[in-house]
Point group: C3
Chain length 424, copies 3
């Protein structure tokens, strides 16, 4: 690292970040056992991919057995950036001093986690150390938000179920129980979704979020077809593929329109194919396809100019489209680096491309997507290091920015843009 890069990184590490997307559970935000860390799907799926049988981490096994199976195999994935996150968590947050995590020293770490986990509001100390000021949650629509610690957490309405599973009897029951509305018509769907969004906003929610398959194509809904599908669902009948598709398009549009009404952004996470590998470990069965195009979303972006769309794409091949669409559409905000694209090899070129061609006030730099607050530290640090590198090498060294401008730009990406766009 050059001196310049070190200076920039030093400043970037001080910025109090806004983490606009995570899966942290409000009721158990920090790790209380080593299993809470190793249970992160990255470790179970990578170890399984490297040869560990899925049964080795069967939830019916004791945590100690599962940890034993995993720790003995960590060397197979010791090259990965995800393994790097684990070691950084262990060292920075639990005082672990080993070079690698092995069966010989894992107990030491396990004890450290148990002890630290007992500290009151431990998650606040963890986030403070990670210099993360706010963490967005991704809440089920019928989650009770009253217990959320709003000094650090920001609720966010996850709408996957509403859009893609609204015909499922269980989802319908949960929705009726939460909103009091039995949804059998577009009007009732509208009432229910609006009720939910108002409830969420009242409890501090800053956005709605949804993950989408690569072939989803939002367009103006056919309300009549959606009505027919909802009526069938209400009558307990199965939906054909055409019905389901029309219903998903309608529900998606309803979510976007509701965001418009309440002046909240919508987080689009585009490109996941669920359950592509059903024999995998839990959380490690979804993959992607590079097919599809952001061009399919142009109609949505045109129809809702008042809604900010914070867009993440899963396939690296979509990155150029995302930067290009954000360059033209005022309401498209590139957001972070998602999942299979959340590795430095992809973050670095994508970040450079966004910084070179998208207005800096539009870039939501990073979010953690984490399930326990501990991972916010290494993930954001990874991003902060890449940001320092790109700003140093491509902007300050060639004279395109001063150091001050670079740090100011980093502040926009890590904090200010998210605060402004999400209104937090």
């Amino acid at each position: 690292m050059s001196d310049l890069e070190i200076r920039l990184l030093d400043e970037i590490l001080r910025i109090q970040a806004i983490d606009c997307h995570s899966h942290v559970p409000a009721g158990a935000p920090h790790a209380q056992t080593l299993g809470d860390l190793l249970g992160y799907h990255y470790y179970t799926e990578l170890l399984h991919s490297a040869g560990m049988p899925a049964e080795a981490v069967d939830p019916r096994k004791s945590e100690i057995e599962r940890i034993g199976e995993m720790v003995g195999r960590l060397d197979t994935i010791s090259n990965t950036v995800q393994y790097g996150w684990l070691m950084e968590v262990a060292r920075e947050l639990f005082g672990f001093s080993g070079d690698r995590l092995t069966p010989a020293n894992s107990n030491e770490l396990a004890q450290g986690i148990i002890e630290a986990g007992r500290q009151k509001d431990r998650y606040r100390a963890v986030l403070a150390k990670a210099r993360i000021e706010k963490v967005f949650l991704t809440n089920r629509f019928d989650e009770d938000l009253s217990a959320v610690d709003r000094s650090v957490f920001v609720p966010c309405l996850r709408t996957d179920d509403l859009v893609f599973q609204i015909a499922d009897p269980q989802v319908r029951r949960r929705l009726a129980s939460k909103t009091g509305t039995e949804v059998g018509s577009p009007e009732e769907a509208r009432a229910a979704v609006r009720w939910l969004m108002r409830y969420f906003v009242q409890h501090g929610a800053a956005s709605a979020a949804i993950s989408l398959p690569p072939d989803f194509s939002p367009h103006a809904p056919d309300e009549k077809a959606a009505g027919k599908a909802l009526a069938r669902a209400a009558a307990g009948k199965d939906l054909g593929a055409g019905d389901s598709a029309a219903l998903a398009v309608f529900m998606f549009d309803l979510v976007a329109d509701t965001c418009r009404q309440v002046h909240k952004p919508m987080q689009l996470m585009i490109g996941v194919i669920r359950d592509m590998y059903p024999a995998g470990v839990p959380g490690g069965r979804d993959l992607l396809s590079k097919r599809g195009s952001l061009a399919d979303y142009a109609d949505l972006f045109r129809r809702y100019p008042e809604v900010d769309f914070a867009v993440s794409v899963l396939s690296a091949t979509w990155a150029h489209e995302l930067a290009s669409f954000a360059w033209i559409f005022p309401n498209v905000k590139p957001s972070g680096h998602w999942w299979y694209s959340n590795v430095p090899a992809h973050i670095e070129p994508d970040l450079r491309a966004r910084l070179e061609a998208v207005p800096r006030v539009k870039l939501i730099g990073y979010y953690s997507d984490m399930y326990k607050v501990e991972f916010g530290l290494p993930k954001f640090n990874m991003y902060r290091r890449i940001l320092a590198r790109v700003l140093a090498r491509e902007f300050v060294e060639p004279g395109r920015m001063t150091e001050r401008q670079a740090i100011e730009t980093a502040g926009l990406l890590l904090r200010d843009n998210a605060k402004r766009i999400f209104g937090v």
Copy 2:
């Protein structure tokens, strides 16, 4: 920058470049007001994308109002490479000394531009300073070419209208008025296009050019279907989608065949979707899709082995296909880095890939695509810097080229190949 890179750049900056694609208007090639610079679509569209209402740059507003709206917001796009171009133009060509362009200092620049703009043949001084020897224009088919200053400008027949709008009554009228042929049959179309191309060649034109949507697929035309469509158009009737498609394929093929006849290259600019964001600012409404494949052009490349196709692709995802097709097809010449791919983050890897796998005598390194000659300087300088970096880091340092060979290769990319391929 290493000493090597500095030495290479120094030599590369001396090369008199050929700019084989621009939109410079022959009658007003250089800027006469600050509005001529800020009116470049990059600035209006990026500022609009960053939050400026499109109305702020409504042409019905006075230039001073529009400049005011823009300058006050430039900070929102100060990270972009396009903003960098503007500052380099201001500093290098107008003696501007500010760190950033702001409401406080923009008047100084505005005055400088007005003064410089009054100099006789100012554009020649600008191009000399940018070390650009020749600039290709992109002329409407009915443009009067007699006034073109052929000491620096090279006409080029833009064929978008002919291929995609030949059924449009206004285009037909313009064509009839220029060529004397009312086109109602394939034969008449042939006569008109050949007349145009001869006219262009007589006035120094070096190629035909066309921009194409990502799903266009050229193939051997169905002349009968095209004839039916032309007859309908001549009769003032609307064309169905099938008619339009057949007609476009026919007209495209006619242009390629005419290039063959006159021994001129055809510039293919592949991948733009027009008017994807109609509410945008003028010039800032087109976008792209990553769909499609250069494989759809293989038939064209096979059928016209005598025609050199200077190919540009808009989507970064097409870059590998372009380099691979140029590696195999003698008549495919990768040309520059177009529009949404014309940012260093994409130029650098694409240039490296082309230099590593495509014969160096085939690479048309760069063109400006500019609307005013001033932008040739920062755009070509951006490319020259990347070229020096790639040659230094990937070729000279690892011992794959000597410095002399690297500079010679740069000469091919910036000048010699374009001269040979386009015959200028």
Copy 3:
């Protein structure tokens, strides 16, 4: 190069590599004339692409004429990495001392090759110098394997013909002659393929291999449809497109299933379009399309969990899918960098991405794809240099690996993983 990179490279150059894919002919593995080197399709196709008529290398011309045509034009491709391979072969293996290969000095090299080529078992000395321990061949199904020097070569059953040409009378004759089975039914196909695989395994074969077009989609075969197609083929009747497709899917599945039975990996080389440029030089007519997706192979990966699939992709746009699928599917092993992706500009980012996100025990780093053993040296050296660079810059310098761990990881990629996965 930093000191660290030099130290890593020094160690990496000592690793005895396994080359798991080549086209070396067992009976003539090393070059005996300069024509054996210059005849590599890279040189003929690149020179043709740069302007040399295909006739210049017509096989009916004498070798000396062909060499003359080529050497005089080498300067046009002197920038390419392939030219770099040639020079490294000349210098390292034949003591050539020129800066460039020219008509003035090519005779010196030609003589050196003839002399060296006469040495007994020259190929072993060449491979020893290249630090390549084993080289996989790609054998026609009816090749006689008894003469293969199994101290360095490992046979591999090429199945392209079986899968895509099984209806071809000549292929059928060759198959009947080799296996004794006239294939007219699925059962007979099964018998023949299993016979072949057993024969190959008995002769030391380590895998089956196939190259596939980008739109191939393997799925559970329709045995009835395949039976109909085989019966037609046996009766000498032509197959329709539907028949051919069903038959290819069946035969492909049969190969996969046979790999399962004999516990051998299957090498999938995905993405080539054959004969896209028929007027090209021999070996220089195939290209690619970026269309398609590895998602189409998920069904195969699910159905054969016991089979290791060593997967190569031809289009750079598939690289992210490959790394992501290998991250999740235990039986997907990313293998090398194939053909149009085998240039440093693509290897470097792809290698970095694989090293950051795929368990290191799964990565088959590199194979040569060579036709003469000489090219193993520069190709593997190219890869070793990139590996040293990526490990130094992205792993050791940022503290993610120690030097020892980096070298150990290099050993997995170059040698240990291939040994374990292929059982050699």
